[in-house]
């Protein structure tokens, strides 16, 4: 049995969600997901069975994302609404609604500085505890909370949810 691949396959939905929270659009997100899975398959010798594969994968994906964003221009940002529209396809009405909502929230996420976005993605989208997120990002708890506070305030202001 290939327990490694099976466990990894089980994580794919969460990894795709994390990738979307980090990326400009769904296509970039799936490219990021593919790159991360390729990396994980190559690095499988470094994976210690019995430890948490999700944390390991989040870290791999975050590194892939940093590599990609560093080497890429920001031009893609302009195309967000159009890409979001193309992705709708023939999904049901509920899915389209979700896409529109995703577009708005994703656009707000895109405007966050990378370091705030990754903190928000891990804690608010992936639902990790502060401690887990800080470990994945390799930063102290205090740094994580201050990035979270700033990221959330910016999102609330953009999404009109400020108290």
């Amino acid at each position: 049995m290939a327990a490694f691949e099976d466990e990894l396959l089980g994580l794919v939905p969460r990894l795709r969600r994390f990738a979307q929270a980090l990326s400009h659009n769904a296509a970039d997100a799936d490219d990021l997901c593919q790159a991360s899975l390729e990396k994980a398959l190559k690095a499988r010798a470094q994976w210690e069975a019995g430890t948490r594969m999700d944390s390991w994968m989040y870290r791999i994906m975050r590194n892939c994302w940093i590599d990609t964003t560093r080497s890429r221009t920001r031009a893609a940002e302009t195309f967000l609404p159009e890409e979001a529209g193309l992705e709708v396809g023939d999904d049901g009405a509920r899915a389209i609604e979700a896409r529109v909502e995703l577009g708005e929230v994703a656009a707000a996420m895109q405007r966050l500085p990378d370091e705030q976005r990754e903190a928000v993605a891990l804690v608010l989208v992936e639902g990790l505890a502060y401690k887990e997120a800080a470990a994945i990002l390799d930063i102290p708890m205090g740094t994580l909370t201050s990035r979270l506070v700033r990221g959330r305030q910016a999102l609330m202001a953009k999404l009109g949810e400020a108290a």
Binding site: M1, A2, E5, D6, E7, L8, L9, G10, L11, V12, P13, R14, R16, R17, A19, Q20, A21, A26, A27, A29, D30, D31, C33, Q34, A35, L37, E38, K39, L41, K42, R52, D54, T68, S71, R72, A95, A98, E101, L102, E104, V105, A106, V120, L124, V125, G127, A129, Y130, T145, S146, L148, V149, R152, Q153, L155, M156, L159, E161, A162, A163
Partner: protein, 225 residues
Amino acid sequence: MIPDEAMLMAYADGELDALTAKRVERAIAADPSLADVVAAHRALRERLGQAFGAASEEPVPARFAAMLASNVTPLPTPRPAWPRRWIEAGAIAASLVLAVAVGHQWQSGPVKVSGDRVVASGSLGHALDTQLASASGDTHMLVSFRDDRGSYCRVFATAAIDGIACRDQDQWVLRETRSPLHTAGSEYRQAGSADAPLMASAQDMMKGDPLDAAAERRARDAGWR
């Protein structure tokens, strides 16, 4: 104590120890405007969760399922069959995968690549061939039906993968796959935790009603033709 924004946020996220949380609650009781801050933090979490949640509920794209099929082996050389954008991104390293399962089905994982399709293999293929919905085991057959082309399709659930497979000639082609619910950590998968979106897809694909036990048995005995 007047809690600052970071503390209110941590309170909203359930990150404070009991003692500190109590203090924040006392402060909120004294100043109801703080409750609005907490509510705004919770609302934002909710909204983000919903916006991105769809990504985790979609079926796993076949290309990822194929990558992780346990009978695939990394190849040292890149091939041009991948999305152009990706090649242009320069990230196509030495990690492409190719199925090499031929002749080794008994060793393979639950899926393999056949031509450009992902098909069931190994124990999953066997279960799809033989197992009735009434049977229990590591693999569950949730429902069997005919699609609009008259092919037999079956919704299955295993520890590693859930999905819908449809009969095409002598193979079970995977039409949709999902990771099973609650695969994180060591949570045990509960029997019968049918994936609702998967069942909804089956409903959409289905022509007429699902097969009853007798019809399913007849279909199996006739080799799903």
